[in-house]
Amino acid sequence: MVSKQAIIDVLLTIPDPEMPISIVDLGIVETVELSERAVHVDLLPTFVGCLALPAIAEEVKKKVGDVDGIDNVTVDFIYDPPWSTDRMTEQGISDLAKMGIAVPDGSCCGEGGSSSSLVELQTSAIRCPWCDSEDTTYTSAFGPTRCRSIHYCNACRQPFERMKQV
């Protein structure tokens, strides 16, 4: 019989279609249930409006379905517990850093805070993934995907992205 670890190993080879990181390292795999020749996987959407969700579900069905001894794969998206950047692995954080995408370390305020000042630019200690400087500016909460915001590093003068702290 196929082991659960074998299924997780397969999931580790499935990247997020929009980022160079496996779905396991992204922290969206909540449960893997194995019974006889069937597998059920519960995934957590990073954002409800993430356009990559159907592609991820298809890839999971295909790759896990190709495993010898597995005939049936089902995938559900669930909202409880809610996904957060805290669920990402060290491997995932380092994979994203190589592509210039920063990940919140939980030490500074997130996008979830309430807006009370006239200037809402967030300047507190967001580290540039290219040069490590903390002299960075928050450009926009709306980046190329729903889970990433856009920033600019004043030190190395490079734009970079960051996983939204949720």
């Binding site: 409800v48 409880d80 809610p82 979830g112 309430s114 807006s115 926009s140 909460a141 709306f142 949720v166």
Partner: protein, 258 residues
């Protein structure tokens, strides 16, 4: 909500549809700004807001669809006009005036955040779980739109005048959001909706707090007006125009797969 009788089930469906319809039409209206918003960042942001709103609608249609034995797409695009339960404000034509679009989104985003907060501890666990997730995303919307109101209010004399006018222009329509769908009282009885404070008062307080930062005051009245009726399927001409556009592709071939 362990056992569910027929009347409660219909009330739950109405609740999901009323929120989802608001978000679908708002997202649809806002998607018209894609490509023509005043600056690039605003264009991307408004398109993202529209994407979020339509995704939130889709998730709520799916929840309702489980009870209705119907797909989210069919619910979103296949109903008769009087089966839509959205409020009047979301379909009001913004005349492609940026101040109108910002004022409307400011009112709606803040209201949606309150709704999701309130439903996060619903006795219907599936709805509660979804709304916990949506609160986080909605807060990002609220932060963004609150900033835009402040930007316009502290920009030039013209921008201040135009956002002030738009906020007043949409104040009446905003009362339409607070209409409740049929069966709402039943949901309060069963703790599907937890009411700890009046949602109109709570909303007005948040709006006033933001506007006080930029010396704008708007009078709201939560009274029945020509703007009401949406939650029971009675809609305006602007709604009819929006619905025709929204359903155009679906009606070409309802059985098509995407």
């Amino acid at each position: 909500m362990s056992t569910i009788d027929e009347a409660t089930q219909q009330a739950v469906i109405n609740l999901c549809l009323s929120i989802a319809d608001d978000k679908l039409f708002l997202g649809h209206r806002n998607s018209n700004w894609t490509g023509i918003a005043p600056i690039l960042e605003a264009d991307i942001a408004f398109s993202s807001l529209a994407q979020d709103d339509i995704a939130h609608a889709s998730a709520l249609y799916e929840l309702a669809g489980n009870l209705m034995d119907e797909t989210a797409d069919n619910i979103a695009f296949g109903r008769k006009p009087d089966a839509y339960l959205c409020s009047n404000i979301v379909t009001k034509d913004d005349q492609f005036d940026w101040a109108n679009a910002i004022a409307r989104q400011f009112y709606c985003s803040n209201f949606d955040l309150l709704r999701f907060e309130r439903l996060s501890n619903s006795s219907w666990s599936e709805l509660a779980a979804l709304c916990k997730r949506l609160v986080v995303e909605q807060q990002i919307q609220v932060n963004h739109i609150n900033d835009w109101v402040k930007q316009l209010a502290t920009g030039t004399p013209e921008s201040k005048e135009r956002i002030t006018n738009a906020l007043n222009e949409y104040a009446d329509a905003a009362s339409s959001m607070f209409e409740t769908p049929y069966g709402f009282d039943l949901l309060i009885e069963q703790d599907v909706v937890n009411v700890t404070e009046d949602i109109f008062d709570a909303w007005q307080a948040r709006i006033a707090e933001q506007l006080s930062l930029v010396d704008i005051s708007v009078d709201f009245e939560n009274t029945a007006s020509e703007n009401e009726g949406g939650r029971s399927g009675v809609h305006s001409d602007d709604f009819a125009d929006s619905l025709t556009e929204l359903q155009a592709v679906y009606k070409e071939d309802p059985a098509a797969s995407w």
